[in-house]
């Protein structure tokens, strides 16, 4: 078997032992890697109902066959676990040197089980695994943690670490690597913290198993050059993802004031043009010629690397229109190891709940200094408010009550990324059906929705587009494990990816072979949720109810008086379920599961609910 090492490193943190599991072609071809591997391991090994922050949960680090191989944007790694934020399947990816090192150390995946009795970090070098006390870095931010470990092991190693957020079990804590790279929005950093695992350092020295090493090297390096060239010609990384902010503002899809508003006259102050003008450094993931990380000096003088999601949620959604202050909030999130999207939305929800009189408090929209204090409290779970904020909007709204659930901007417990879908039914469907909760990662149909079709359509073409993008973004790029930006931002043809995959594995797969795997992974992710929540029904696939509330419609601007309609949204969900072969509750049918070779998984889920 080429392309995979065939090895999974299994580390038990309770008794500090490790072993190397092997897997064969059947597993590799069925799940490929990254999200596919992580999901299958969690499905097979977790008992439903376990505490995501207890020793029974498992932290999975997984790469895919082309990860780490020199080819466009292959520096990514998937991190996954049962989510402490949503209670369902949770994963994310991040650019890190750990990707290449993991493969060179001889592993396609690493599973962390159990719970260390004391804070530790783990050092992995090829077959060697060592456990070190983390006393000197426990309680410190991710920047200090990285510096400390770089001093010991050198800058070239792969490091994945948590900050105070993960240590204190903040439910939207992430894992961080390199300058501003972070992954695992649904609290994967909290799972790492619950295991008392401060950091993972990894170094590998073996060759990555590639079927056609010379052919792959030549092709990969040439394509990296070409992607860099297209990036230059198009000027994409002048503003990287942040160009989208002014666009969202123009088309009334910007999150402002806890998503109660969709545009703002001051949005230009935090847009991509201002960001590029303030740029002091540029960062990127390994194996990337697009380097999308734009760093500015924040209000306190730190370098802070911003993208659109950070600015939309920590800036406009909080009515903060000073770029350096948005930079400060972003820097703090990175240092504490908190997801910027959930952190921003949670603070916005808190300010909104105060404004609505649902809870008493001093925080107001636009107050950057107070927002900084609150982030620190949330990261450390300080006091009643810190604890409340650390649990995210869904739990906060349940604790606060007074109707605040309606404006808690999450899906399935995961806060919504920076697109205000008051009047974007297709993008609302993308959030609603994302297998993690309110994430834009798996499907991003908003430009399609506004450019190619009628914005007010709830037709089957929108469901089809959401699924098409989920297959590519949430499937292909998550299981071969590569960054989607060359394709989505520069139009780098998808056909290149089976080419890389085949050179690495020696197989002759086409894109059509990949789509079946994407659909299989989607079906199993849904089974994972259903096994955790056996009373599953379609309301769990609904976006926040405030998007259906006519009193929340914009008073002015491009979508004045318009709002989503629930009965039509249900029709859109029907289109989606039908096209996926799922029943009216949103659960894959027996026929679908069988066609996707999920017989065993189907038998397991049938212990919890009936399948149609």
């Amino acid at each position: 078997m080429k392309g995979w090492t065939g090895h999974i490193l299994r580390i038990n943190l309770t008794n500090r032992t490790h072993k190397i599991d092997t897997f064969g072609q059947e597993f590799a071809h069925k799940w490929v890697g990254g999200r596919g591997f992580a999901l299958k391991v969690l499905w097979d090994e977790l008992r439903p109902g376990i505490d995501p922050l207890g020793p029974e949960n498992k932290l999975i680090i997984a790469v895919g066959p082309i990860a780490g191989v020199p080819a466009p944007n292959t520096g990514k790694t998937v991190v996954a676990a049962k989510s402490p934020l949503t209670g369902g399947f949770g994963d994310g990816n991040l650019g890190t040197r750990a990707t290449e090192h993991m493969r060179k150390a001889g592993y396609d995946s690493i599973i962390f089980e159990g719970q260390s009795d004391k804070p530790i970090y783990v050092y992995i070098e090829d077959d060697k695994v060592q456990y070190f006390p983390a006393d000197e870095i426990w309680g410190r931010g991710t920047y200090d943690t990285h510096d400390y470990l770089y001093k010991i092991y050198g800058k070239g190693v792969g490091i994945l670490s948590i900050g105070q957020g993960g240590e204190n079990l903040n439910r939207y804590a992430m894992i961080r690597s390199l300058e501003g790279r972070a992954g695992g929005r649904p609290g994967i950093g909290a799972v790492m913290g619950s295991k008392n695992l401060k950091a993972i350092v990894i170094k590998g020295s073996k060759p990555i198993p590639v079927a056609d090493p010379e052919g792959m090297r030549k092709l990969g390096i040439e394509d990296l050059r070409k992607v860099g060239e297209i990036n230059k010609q198009t000027g994409w990384s002048i503003q990287s993802t942040t160009g989208v902010l002014s666009w969202c503002n123009e088309v009334a899809a910007l999150p402002v004031h806890n998503m109660r508003q969709t545009h703002h006259p001051d949005a230009w102050k935090i847009d991509g043009e201002r960001l590029n003008n303030a740029r002091v450094a540029t960062y990127g993931c390994p194996n990337c010629t697009m380097r999308c990380g734009i760093a500015i000096r924040d209000h306190e003088g730190h370098e802070s690397e911003l993208d659109y999601e950070n600015i939309g949620t920590l800036g406009s959604n909080l009515d903060i229109f000073e770029l350096d202050q948005v930079g400060s909030l972003n820097y703090l999130c990175d240092d504490y190891g908190l997801d910027t999207i959930s952190a921003g939305d949670t603070l916005a929800f808190y300010a909104d709940a105060i404004e609505q009189g649902a809870i008493k408090g001093d925080f107001r929209f636009g107050d950057a200094e107070m927002a900084k204090k609150l982030l620190g409290m949330a990261a450390r779970r300080q006091g009643e408010i810190g604890n409340l904020l650390a649990d995210g909007t869904m739990r906060m709204s349940r604790a606060i009550g007074h109707g605040s659930e309606a404006y808690a901007m999450h899906v399935k417990g995961l806060e919504i990324s920076a697109y205000n879908c008051k009047f974007c039914p297709g993008m609302a469907l993308a959030f609603a059906t994302c297998p993690l909760g309110g994430h834009h990662k798996d499907s991003w149909v908003i430009t399609f929705e506004i450019k190619q079709t009628k914005r007010d359509s709830y037709g089957p073409e929108k469901a089809a587009k959401v699924i098409e993008l989920q297959r590519i973004r949430g499937g292909l790029f998550e299981f071969i494990v590569a960054c989607r930006f060359p394709w989505i931002e520069l139009g780098w043809p998808l056909e290149h990816y089976p080419e890389y995959f085949n050179r690495v594995t020696g197989l002759t797969w086409s894109l059509d072979d990949f789509w079946k795997i994407s659909d299989r992974i989607y079906a199993l992710m849904k089974f994972f949720w259903v096994r955790e929540f056996p009373d599953w029904d379609r309301t769990r696939d609904y976006p926040p109810m405030i998007w259906f509330d006519p009193s929340n419609a914009d008073k002015d601007g491009p979508i004045a008086g318009k709002i989503l309609e629930l009965d039509k949204f249900n029709q859109l969900l029907d289109h989606y379920y039908e096209q996926r072969g799922w029943d009216e509750r949103g659960i894959p049918t027996k026929k679908t599961a069988e066609a996707l070779d999920l017989k065993d998984e189907m038998a397991e889920v049938e212990k919890y609910t009936r399948l149609e």
């Binding site: 000027g235 043009e273 991003w444």
Partner: protein
């Protein structure tokens, strides 16, 4: 000849390619969207999203006084 006043807003790297971010234009009445696009120093082949006052607009549509035309490359949004 009657004229109209419109604003053109460029988004993302189009700003750097065209050398301006936002501009007020005075144009003959009945000018179409595609006529304005053709006058911009931006590659006509490049896929774009064009909106008028926040709504998608077809190239052949005529502009009206006070319109705001936003021209953006196609983003994925990260």
């Amino acid at each position: 000849m009657p004229t109209i006043k419109i604003t053109v807003k460029l988004i993302g790297p189009l700003i750097n390619l065209a050398g301006f971010s936002e501009k007020a234009l005075e144009l003959p009445a009945e000018t179409t969207v595609e006529e304005v696009l053709a006058s911009l120093p931006v590659d006509p082949q490049r896929p774009k999203i064009v909106t008028r006052n926040g709504q998608a607009v077809a190239p052949g549509e005529k502009l009206r006084d006070g319109d705001r035309l936003a021209v953006s490359p196609i983003y994925s949004g990260g």
